[in-house]
Chain length 584, copies 2
């Protein structure tokens, strides 16, 4: 296939668009691959759509190869199935909802567990129809609060979602592993650098769950890994509870004046000045910080929650959100404080926290707060803190909540060494849903003994349009995009760099020969300067750039590798053969 | 590719689904190609999705071959561009509208003129970028008042829409003809019997317009054709105004008692009894019937409209809807009658109709009502009609409205002979939009003289998901579907009709050999009776059915042509070769 740039529906831009902050967004817009239609909603131009379809093809081939069967659901869906599973409400503002002309409630599908479950219930009635994996590549909708980075996090996007259906847990495990293997092949073929991490399943319910994260500084997901092979999404890191310590030598708790110490920093300074400790100075790690937030439940009810954690750590909002989902987190406001006078802002302590205490506010402790450990913490009076307050001796909490930030150097939960932090783009997510949806929607089949059993499910997603951005993010330089051959819109970018019949004729002949050899060619036949053509070739990012110019007089052309920048001269007589070999 | 029915995600039904009235709907559901998800909204199962993708491929190949470039727009669109062209309102209840979390207005795209126009405005600034044809194959949404017949008229459906952009009318004409030629190739490849008819462009605006209608008794479009080659959608038939006749011999109008004659039939009977005409009996064609409807305009305002037409014709609601679009038609209710006492139901006459008359109701006449012609019509009093009322002498109207039914035998407007009526499914629509959208959205480019000129556009659609139903409608029998080779989900349906290693081995070997030869095979390896397998094979409709059964002992298999029913025995040794030849 040969496409001429003189007729290609394309306009490249010299400047980055004003609303684009990350390289993939800047370059995909500048190179004329995508255009913004509304916040988080993009149109695909010819080059961009070709890349998207190439990604789709790779995903489809690998899903077919693992025996999954392709179906296609509507994006416009009735409310009822989502009501049955509670997700009509749980999705909150992230769901696009609408009414039809008769007032019926509909939604734009964010993910299709319900529909797949119901369809399988309609089609399959016996264990003989299982195991089954079905998938679709489809446009999905989420009304993100913060759409960002172009197609990296859009409100309309293309996803491959698949679902496995098995008669028992062993079957689910096998389906899960088959998807895992297919995903490895997909992301390998896309040329992505990625890591597989343990993940929380968030609002989806279920147990085993892993994410495929493409390494990227602009990624929204922070993950941790250890030298010993541990890797997890920060939301999934489970801090082991600290072992109980002996408190028999700890003096009785005593309240001290600590004037003007509403923050941990001021408290540590004052404690060291007014109440110095023998042996070692007080540090933030000796203090117990109590943070109050408001949980907003899907049914709209609000509930305050107190979190106690070592003063040298912050609450990680993403970990908190994941932990309390489907509830959402709101601030505990000044107004809220006024309603609970027992809470003395800056001096809140365990003395008033807990379901049985003065405030009645549920109080959950970071797992690092060992039973028997002693703390400096608020005394529930302005300018006062209590010292040597021992967990289990002087106070109790209502439970544990592991939502403190994970820090570089924290120990891996599996003992495989210190953790390091990195950022990634979530490209795939696989998890074992179990029977949540099958239970809610009544998906049962007859087993080999003629007994009705509930089916167990897995749910698996690949961000298809996001992959276009992730590949661009993964593979570009300051001049432009650098497409891996597997997804490049054209295999060869052929630049006519000069005028005259000899050069033009040689270029056209070469393009024709490459076309016949099955190589797709973007032929720059425009009447603009070679400089503009070279700049556009580098911006557009085809893997092989062929320059047909003055060298033709000497019987040579130039072949450039976009990724390495290597240039080589090739004899015109052998050009078609050599370029076809390279470009394949 | 070989797919085993033992693992295929499929359940065939013996009974027609309760909600299905037309054969394609019944068969596509029974054969497990589609399933209803909500009214007018369908899910595609593996076999159905394969057919859909085959249709898409044919459409894409022909669009690419004509030089159109593929893009892809969002389905979720902001209100503003549709507001600018007035279609946000004009679409009325047919548009799915919704709000995002910030309260912004969005719609689900029913067609994308605005978005294409704006994108071309962004990308193309000079005549050098034209002519340009761009297209997308995309999911579209219309909140149909009466979704029907499965995927024949759905609320979520797949369409190919393309748009041409030209600098002048000659260019538009060329782009239009290029699309017309591509559509002929597309529908020929789909194996459809179809006719190309002149069409109204309805709400779209614009001038030249044709529809591609697949011949079908279940089609919603009625069209007419003459032996002389005239063909038009009934909405598009323009009745030539009747020539003025000499009324000098017509007596003065006279009101007569016609008791109990609220209908044309009763009027004709009473007129012949009480007021017989010399020479010829009164017929319905001598009466002038006045029909009152209510127009509902896009802005919500309502307006009564009176239509005068010969009493032997009815108003054709589809012609009326097309003529008054973007307004819609409501009934003129009993309540409405009470508000206009001058209207005497059953006896309404021109005496009170017209913008200057007692009712003030706009009054439009059928073009058959010649100036000078005399009529029997209502005298605006109970039980009274006026005779010899002459158009142009005794009454005037506010204009002409050509919305009476077209009848078998009516003359073709171009004089090419009497019309015959037929029904069809609208498969494609092409038309010359002109500058309506370019004007509304400011799409101008520099011409060769450096002057800004407004671009002229064409708009072209193919119903892609509808084509699946149309092909099924076009090609089935009482046993099931009969797919043309170009769109069949599999080329060969291979039935293992018997037990034992010899038969199974021969079938598996044949399937493998066909797979290697590039033939797609649906292998019925289920443990069910041959009778069930044969019935399913006929229901599913692959073009070639191969039966491997007891004949294997004699070295033969049977090959059946699904369309013709022809059966032939083929030597097992030559089976792979022979079947591959047939199936290609």
């Amino acid at each position: 296939m040969i496409t001429r740039m003189s007729t290609l529906f394309l306009r490249t831009l010299r400047e980055d668009p004003a609303d684009a902050e990350v390289p993939s967004h800047q370059l995909l817009v500048r190179a004329g691959y995508i255009r913004r239609a509304a916040p988080g909603i993009y149109s695909w131009l010819p080059l961009g759509y070709t890349v998207l379809r190439n990604v789709e093809r790779i995903v489809r081939e690998e899903m077919d190869a693992m025996g999954a069967q392709e179906v296609h659901f509507p994006a416009l869906l009735p409310r009822e199935p989502y009501e049955a599973t509670g997700r009509w409400t749980e999705y909150g503002d992230n769901l696009f909802r609408l009414k039809d002309r008769k007032g019926g409630d509909y939604l734009l599908g964010p993910t299709h567990e319900e529909m797949f479950t119901l369809l399988v219930k309609d089609i399959v009635s016996s264990y003989k129809g299982l195991p089954l994996s079905i998938y679709q590549i489809q446009t999905k909708y989420r009304d993100e609060a913060r759409p960002r980075a172009g197609i990296l996090r859009g409100r309309e996007f293309v996803m491959k979602d698949s679902y496995s259906f098995d008669i028992d847990d062993a079957g689910l495990e096998a389906s899960y592993l088959a998807h895992r293997a297919a995903y490895i092949r997909i992301f390998d073929r896309l040329g992505l650098k990625y890591v597989i991490v343990s993940a929380m399943s968030g609002a989806m319910g279920g147990s085993a769950s892993e994410e495929f994260l493409a390494d990227s500084e602009v990624g929204e997901d922070t993950y941790v890994r250890s030298a010993g092979g541990y890797a997890a999404n920060v939301e999934a890191v489970r801090t082991p509870p600290a072992a109980e310590v002996d408190s028999s030598g700890t003096p009785a708790a005593h309240v001290e004046d600590t004037p003007d110490t509403p923050t941990i920093d001021t408290l540590v300074a004052v404690a060291n000045r007014l109440h110095p400790r023998a042996g070692a100075a007080w540090t933030a790690a000796d203090t117990l910080k109590n943070v109050i937030v408001t949980l907003r439940h899907p049914d709209g009810t609000r509930e305050p929650l107190a979190i106690g954690l070592p003063g040298d750590r912050e609450v990680d909002m993403k970990r908190l959100e994941a932990a309390i989902s489907p509830a959402e987190v709101d601030a505990f406001t000044e107004d809220d404080f006024r309603k609970v006078p027992a809470l003395v802002k800056g001096y809140i302590g365990p003395g008033v926290l807990g379901e049985t205490k003065a405030t009645g506010i549920r109080y959950l402790l970071d797992p690092r707060v060992a039973r028997g450990s002693a703390w400096v913490t608020g005394a529930d009076a302005p300018g006062k803190h209590v010292f040597d307050l021992v967990h289990g001796r002087d106070f109790e909490a209502d439970g544990v909540l592991d939502v403190a930030e994970i820090r570089e150097g924290d120990p891996a939960p599996d003992g495989s060494g210190p953790l390091s932090l990195a950022r990634g783009i979530e490209m795939g997510h696989i998890f074992q849903l179990g029977r949540k949806y099958a239970d809610a929607l009544g998906l049962q089949v007859l087993d080999q003994n003629g007994k009705l059993v509930t089916v167990t499910m897995g749910s698996y997603g690949v961000g298809v349009s996001r992959a276009v951005a992730a590949v661009a993010e993964n593979s570009h330089d300051d001049k432009g995009l650098i497409w891996p051959r597997a997804v490049a819109p054209y295999q060869v970018h052929l630049v006519i760099a000069g005028k005259g019949e000899q050069i033009t004729g040689a270029a056209e002949d070469l393009a024709t020969a490459l076309g016949i050899a099955g190589i797709s060619v973007l032929l720059d036949d425009r009447n603009v300067s070679p400089g503009i053509k070279f700049a556009d070739a580098e911006l557009l990012g085809m893997p092989t750039i062929v320059v047909v110019g003055r060298g033709v007089a000497d019987g040579v052309i130039e072949v450039r590798d976009r990724a390495t920048g290597e240039k080589s001269e090739v004899a015109l007589a052998e050009a078609a053969h050599t370029v076809a070999q390279l470009a394949r």
